[in-house]
């Protein structure tokens, strides 16, 4: 009787340890997961807005450094979700971000739309649309060129009720991670 119990316990412990080993030692499944692209670039352009005098004016937009990632669906590589963080490095530095849906028309040409905002030291929120052109350097790297148009109607950084408009052009390095 005792022997039977010992055998059962041994079998059970072997089964459990094998199961735990399989669970914790196995590498994470990649299945048809996401393809990851990293971006790093700089940008500037035109910034338009109403100063409160009722006249809409334009000036050069602050220089910004942008970095982020694109998550492409492994099965449908035409669709992607992009995340960007940017820092405006002129005048009082600001920190902002962007989340965007990207639709790649070909491997090197895409269009996107999303939400953009500045979070500190003042806030600014709005929408953004743009295009991406990638000039490939080898298999995994490329130079991206990105014209974009953003309208930001909400936030504490606005001196008047009118929106701020960005017509920007960014360029930088895109890497397949």
């Amino acid at each position: 009787m005792t022997r039977l119990v010992k055998t059962a316990l041994t079998r059970g412990s072997v089964s459990i340890s094998a199961l735990l080993g399989a669970m914790f030692l196995a590498s994470p499944a990649h299945a048809d997961g996401y393809l990851l692209d990293g971006n790093f670039g700089i940008g500037s352009g035109l910034e338009g807005g109403d100063t409160g005098t009722g006249q809409f004016g334009w000036r050069r937009a602050r220089l910004r450094i942008t970095t982020g990632i694109d998550l492409r669906d492994g099965e449908s590589q035409a669709d992607a979700l992009g995340f960007r963080a940017f820092v405006e490095i002129e005048k009082r530095a600001t920190l902002g971000g962007e989340i965007r849906y990207e639709r790649w028309l070909s491997h090197n040409v895409g269009a996107y739309g999303g939400l953009i905002g500045v979070v500190t030291p003042e806030t600014l929120f709005g929408g953004s649309v743009g295009m991406d052109f990638v000039i490939p350097f080898g298999k995994r790297a490329g130079l991206f060129l990105e014209p974009s148009f953003s309208v930001l109607p909400v936030g504490s950084d606005l001196p008047s009720t009118g929106p701020l408009v960005w017509l920007l052009f960014s360029a930088g390095l895109k890497l397949g991670l």
Partner: protein, 90 residues
Amino acid sequence: MKSSSARASSLTVVRALLALCLLGVAHLLANSGCSSGSVCYRNTDCPHDSDCLQGQCVRRTASEAGVAGSSSLENDAAGATDVSQTPDAN
């Protein structure tokens, strides 16, 4: 021969489109007015203790006083309104 002439004509079209784009931007700037650095468009154009009011940087205490009682920047009771501050230099 025919293809090279076609390429040359398409290049000409691209150049013409580029020139039109540049003209469009120039027209936009000319009509909207591309401001100099002395006008603020955002509160973060101004120094830390200032806000942007009607294109000018105004010290925060003065601007709050202006909102609370005074009707214009120039008529601030304490005479503390300072519109001489310029937006932060690049």
